[in-house]
Amino acid sequence: MPPRAEVLQGTLDLLVLKTLDTMGPMHGFGIAQRIQQVSEDVLRLNQGTLYPALLRLEQRGWISSRWGISENNRSAKFYSLTRTGRRQLRDEAAGWNQMAAVINRVLKASS
């Protein structure tokens, strides 16, 4: 099993946006579960940090929230991507890919 990595500073937003994009409206616990699942438990997400992040994204207008009922009948707050959020995701994903590609290139070149 590879060592678990901390979520990189600033990447949590991207992860949350992407999760909401693929999965549709989700509650906080679901988002945390999903991120951990997809990363195959490599990422060690401190779940508590998720909530300030969600608030931040909502304050920026990228996601919106509504109270609803979860699959097992529990009242929970559901977050969904807004249109600006979707655009933001596209921009940030592109930026990330570009950055990753550059870093990859640099690493390959020096090895």
Binding site: H27, G48, T49, P52, K77
Partner: protein, 877 residues
């Protein structure tokens, strides 16, 4: 950018929805944890394990909440709101302190706002002319007599106008009284004679018709007249067909060519009713003009002053006889319009600033006393980790909230204060004072003053309690935390400063009141009861022939004496206290002039027979004018006692002769002195000519009548009798001499009353401040008093200990305040010329008053100190 603004707004709103949002977070976290536990259970953990695992996965629950909460609002605003809430809570908690502080501040700030609104209306708000800031008043100066605001002659004005390049335009005017007559009765109205172009210089177009044409300023041109809006509405009911009509002004027909818009005013004394063109006067020695100018764009007053001084020197060289020592003094028009009022207002701005400073000191003192009792609270907060900066900010918020609330109350108070002020100054006709109202400038001023006040005692407060020595403060039980020696010194210093300022105001009010008392006790030199003065305006043209004039005088006196209730009547050119006399040069037969080419100088007046008897002025030697003195008999004069003392110190000069304008006049009587300008100014030498023997240059004439009963009762009958003498001679004023005397005291009395009001306010504030400090010190030293008494000190020892402290502080304040008071009193000469600055009796009296108030203020706490029960006091240990 948009996004960050949005974030800011959302976060700002979050501040107010915080409780709900925080509740929501809790619900959300609970649901999260429940789901996590559920999942863990589903994965086969037991309940306890499932819970522990869920919390571990989550990380710090409280930490999350903290970060979330910070993210909810704006940290800066957040703490501010927190501070505000705290401040309001603290203020609410001690309503006594809060209301005393608010009242004190409201009075201090209110007085300042009121004076400032008056200054704003009179001096700061631009005059109602376009580009009014470029308008200036061009005074002539007289270097020989040291006059800085003198009128100028027509030729000088023309030279200035032709040569100046810094002044765009120049125009001159003079204020006159115009006699309007319709054949039945005559009326005197204030008028302005201006050079054509004066309206254009000011940039105001007529409401109706036209202004003066250039050629209408030439001698011999047709007579045209422009009306003021008020006169037009009152006389012609605002009819537009007024243009082209004629009015008889000074017995000549004038054609009305225009009407000025409402609010237009040139004269600073009385609002003028009509305007006539000023006709060129070639005499360079005849100064009678006031000159207005407009600065060219970009030219400063200083530059214009420099240029005009050069021009004035050039004119002086060209005409050394008429223009010796004549310079130029350029002042902004707005200052010139305000005139003497400016000095008065500035002095009062200083006065109310002192009152505000005292108020601030007082509140600062109250705060310090409270601050010391809050020392423990502050120490606890510091111990719990509050930063020093944070505590200071909290204190500053508290004082600023208090000051701003005080400012708001002060704004309300100022409304009434300025109304009272405007009302009481109404009789002095200060231009634009009536426009006093609260505008943006006043609001900004009040806000700035309040803010300054808040920061001022916030700083004082913070200085004394902001950095408590923790251990020390926590050690002591709450009420004993003294704030240390530094706090005590600061408080004492504040009381000394407060007392000093109060002394300055009290001493100023004192010397002013003293000078008024002196004036009131001063005998004017004549009787005022049962005497009436009636003022006429004689047209020089109508009365240029001696016989016609004398005929008018005789008839007027006869008609007046025929009125039922009139005992005697007489004529005088200038009433005592009128201040309108000219000083003339004369020679004394058989005496050398004081210096070659410098003859004797005296005031000259003109009186008719029976004047001194009518006025009740005593005859010291010789006789007064009689019916037999006429143009055909020896020309005679009467001198006053001051003239006798000055010119004939060792003799009674009956039969001596003086020469005035080459006429030989014989002294036939010496009379008692009457005050010429004011009760505060000593009588000067005065020589009376006889109305039947000389032709005065003055146009005004006063008849005084001695009546049997109340003069007001026959005033109407006398006025109509006087008007019937000649329908073309207007009666300008009729009033009892009692009123003349009262009027001469009105202005000094008003200044003194205003100052006394502010000084009393200062005294009360200072007394409250002193009481607060002494009472506080006693409360602090209860323990010490207890020990003293336990060790054998008796009650009177304790009593005097406390009182000594209060009196000591006051004495310190008095010593500091005394030299300042002397300096301040010197300024008061600008308000009331007869003020004597260094009056020892007044200063002693004022200091005694202050000390006795201080004694009273210390008495109550001192009594309390003597009632300290040593057992109780010591139990505090």
């Amino acid at each position: 950018m948009m996004e960050s603004v949005r974030t800011l707004v959302v976060r700002f709103l979050g501040l107010f929805r915080r409780r709900r949002l925080e509740g929501e977070l809790d619900a959300e976290l609970r649901s999260h944890l429940e789901m996590a536990v559920e999942r863990n259970l589903a994965q086969g953990m037991d309940r306890e394990q499932a819970c522990r695992q869920a919390l571990r996965d989550f990380g710090g629950l409280e930490q999350t909440r903290q970060i979330y909460r910070e993210r909810l609002g704006l940290p800066f605003l957040d703490t501010l709101l927190q501070d505000l809430r705290f401040a309001l809570r603290m203020l609410r908690k001690s309503p006594g302190f809060t209301s005393v502080a608010l009242l004190t501040l409201a009075l201090g700030i209110g007085a300042n706002t009121a004076i400032f609104s008056a200054i704003n209306a009179v001096l700061l708000r631009p005059l109602p002319f376009p580009n009014a800031h470029r308008l200036v008043f061009v005074w002539a100066t007289d270097g020989q007599r040291g006059i800085k605001e003198d009128v100028s002659s027509y030729p000088n004005f023309e030279d200035w106008k032709a040569q100046s390049k810094t002044l765009d335009r120049l125009a001159a005017f003079t204020t006159r009284s115009a006699t309007l007559s319709n054949g039945e009765e005559a009326e005197l109205v204030p008028a302005v004679q201006g050079t054509p172009g004066i309206f254009e210089l000011l940039g105001v177009s007529p409401e109706l018709g036209r202004t003066f044409r250039q050629d209408e300023g030439e001698p011999g041109s047709s007579h045209v007249l422009i009306l003021s809006d008020a006169f037009w509405k009152q006389r012609f009911a605002g009819r537009t067909d007024v243009i082209g009509q004629t009015l008889r002004v000074n017995e000549e027909a004038y054609t009305i060519v225009g009407v000025m818009p409402s609010g237009f005013r040139i004269s600073r004394e009385r609002p003028e009713q009509v305007y006539a063109p000023l006709v060129r006067d070639p005499d360079r020695g005849h100064g009678f003009l006031m000159v207005l100018g407009r600065l060219r764009p970009g030219v400063s007053i200083r530059e214009a002053q420099t240029e005009m001084s050069t021009i004035a020197r050039r004119i002086e060289e060209a005409y050394p006889n008429g223009n010796r020592g004549v310079g130029v003094n350029i002042v902004p028009l707005v200052d010139a319009m305000a005139g003497d009022a400016k000095t008065g207002m500035m002095i009062f701005l200083g006065v109310v600033s002192l009152v505000l400073l005292i108020a601030c000191t007082n509140v600062a003192n109250l705060m310090l006393a409270r601050g010391a009792s809050r020392m423990k609270e502050i120490a606890v907060r510091a111990a719990l980790g509050a930063e020093r900066q944070r505590i200071l900010r909290q204190l500053l918020t508290e004082t600023t909230v208090l000051a701003l609330a005080g400012g708001a109350a002060g704004l309300l108070a100022s409304h009434w204060i300025s109304r009272a002020l405007v009302e009481s100054l109404k009789q002095f006709d200060v231009p634009r004072l009536a426009d006093t109202h609260t505008d943006t400038a006043v609001l900004v001023f009040t806000f700035a003053v309040s803010l300054f006040t808040g920061i001022f005692f916030g700083a004082v407060f913070g200085f004394s309690v902001g950095s408590p020595r923790l251990a020390e403060a926590l050690h002591q039980s709450g009420h004993q935390a003294t704030g240390g020696a530094r706090g005590r010194r600061l408080r004492s210093g504040l009381v000394v400063a407060e007392t000093a300022m109060a002394l300055v105001l009290l001493a100023s009010a004192g010397v002013l009141l003293k000078s008024i008392l002196v004036m009131r006790r001063t005998a004017p030199g004549f009787h005022t009861e049962n005497r009436l003065a009636i003022e006429f305006w004689l047209l020089p043209k109508r009365f240029s022939s001696d016989s016609r004039r004398i005929q008018f005088f005789r008839l007027a006196l006869a008609r007046a004496e025929a009125v039922h209730g009139v005992q005697t009547a007489a004529l005088i050119a200038d009433l005592p206290l009128g201040g309108g006399l000219d000083s003339l040069s004369f020679h004394i037969a058989g005496k050398l002039d004081p210096a070659p080419g410098k003859p004797f100088q005296s005031l000259f007046n003109v009186a008719s027979s029976g004047y001194f008897a009518t006025m009740g002025v005593p005859i010291h030697a010789g006789r007064e004018f009689s019916e037999h003195d006429s143009a055909d008999t020896t020309p005679v004069v009467i001198i006053n006692e001051a003239a006798r003392r000055r010119f004939w110190p060792d003799e009674i000069p009956l039969g001596k002769q003086i020469s005035l304008d080459a006429n030989l006049l014989t002294v036939v009587g010496v009379v008692g002195d009457t005050r010429q300008t004011s009760l505060g100014v000593a009588p000067r030498p005065e020589i009376f000519l006889n109305y039947m023997q000389s032709s005065p240059k003055w146009s005004w004439l006063v008849m005084v009548a001695r009546t049997e009963g109340d003069p007001a009762a026959i005033s109407a009958a006398l006025k109509s009798a006087a008007q019937r003498v000649d329908p073309n001679v207007p009666v300008t004023r009729i009033l009892p001499l009692d009123d003349v005397l009262a009027l001469s005291l009105a202005q000094p009395q008003l200044w003194a009353a205003l100052l006394a009001v502010f000084a009393s306010l200062a005294l009360v504030l200072a007394a409250v401040g002193l009481y607060g400090v002494v009472a506080y010190l006693v409360a602090q030293r209860t323990h010490e008093m207890g020990i003293r008494m336990a060790l054998g000190a008796n009650r009177s020892d304790v009593f005097s200990l406390v009182v000594r402290q209060g009196l000591g502080l006051t004495l310190g304040g008095t010593l500091v305040g005394m030299p300042c008071a002397l300096g301040a009193a010197r300024l008061l000469v600008h308000l009331v010329p007869s003020v004597r600055a260094g009056d020892p009796a007044t200063l002693t009296g004022v200091s005694a008053l202050l000390l006795s108030i201080a004694f009273a203020a210390s008495y109550i706490p001192a009594r309390r100190a003597t009632r300290v029960d040593p057992i109780v006091a010591l139990r505090y240990e």
